[in-house]
Subunit: 138 residues, 3 copies
Amino acid sequence: MIRQEELHVSTSGRGTYDLSDRIQQLVASSGIVTGLCHIFIRHTSASLMLCENADPSVMVDLESFMQRQVPDGDSMFTHTAEGPDDMSAHVRSILTQSDLNIPVTNGRCALGTWQGVYLWEHRLASHERKVTVTMTGE
Amino acid sequence: MIRQEELHVSTSGRGTYDLSDRIQQLVASSGIVTGLCHIFIRHTSASLMLCENADPSVMVDLESFMQRQVPDGDSMFTHTAEGPDDMSAHVRSILTQSDLNIPVTNGRCALGTWQGVYLWEHRLASHERKVTVTMTGE
Amino acid sequence: MIRQEELHVSTSGRGTYDLSDRIQQLVASSGIVTGLCHIFIRHTSASLMLCENADPSVMVDLESFMQRQVPDGDSMFTHTAEGPDDMSAHVRSILTQSDLNIPVTNGRCALGTWQGVYLWEHRLASHERKVTVTMTGE
């Protein structure tokens, strides 16, 4: 059995957006009991992440880390047509994930207790992001 | 055909743990000849890695690299409830993989000659880690 | 339905190699309309990447970033048997992807408008690289 759905995520600029509930709802609707749920972002300046879901300070620290590691407006970057956050957003995407695959067990994504599924918007401005979810199993 | 198994991995603190043999045994037991083997870690402070399996100095150097790149106790981090290796473990997990998908060919994971499957424990203390393995194919 | 193919990629040393057309051709030949296309590189010193496909300066900047982040010949590295780009190539592989999974929709990989599939050769010398492509769906 294969089910494929598209999620639309409206971001209000750089930051993380919790998709866990929407993903679990798609899996529940699919009727799949055992299998895999694949999540794919169709962009190169936003990415996906499995991360600690309890303490918001984790997201603050991840953002601080990335801003130090991949500074906006780094003088090394030549791809700057869309501004100082253009190339840094591509690098951040390369260092994280464009696709995640999560086991489905007993009709739900078998996330660990502290795992959430997040979209990480790397651009400073708001964007409309498309995420394709493909669920396979029986 | 779908088979799903859970592996338990007892770590003795920070370091890499070779899962290759246990994964190959699960694939052999599944009876799947052609397909995919998906490996998923249900934690956010340990991760998975495909890495060179011959020279132990590679693991030493990877550890050195991560310790320089993501220092424990970095003054930038605010998420420190569980100690100086708490937030660094989350960042290391984000920079590596929570799930791996490996082709199954002729009844075995079709790893390259020098590729091994490793769990990378990022916390300093011992932990019990759960890994879900989902094998699909025919 | 499962189809598995092996791609051979001859690299002329460090740099990115666009696999998008070859992957789309394999998907078209498979006859799969809805499903997933999994791409796996059987090496630990070259990796896979989904990246912006329009402006070549993105690749130049990614290379500059990696050379700063993971310098060849870093004095920290002890795994140097094959030269100054030996261990740096392993670290670059760890920080990027060894496998990608892309949704198949209407008989094609459903890449975003600006997404391309690249092999990233991290060694300085030419290499023959093997990539296993596994397509599943209906």
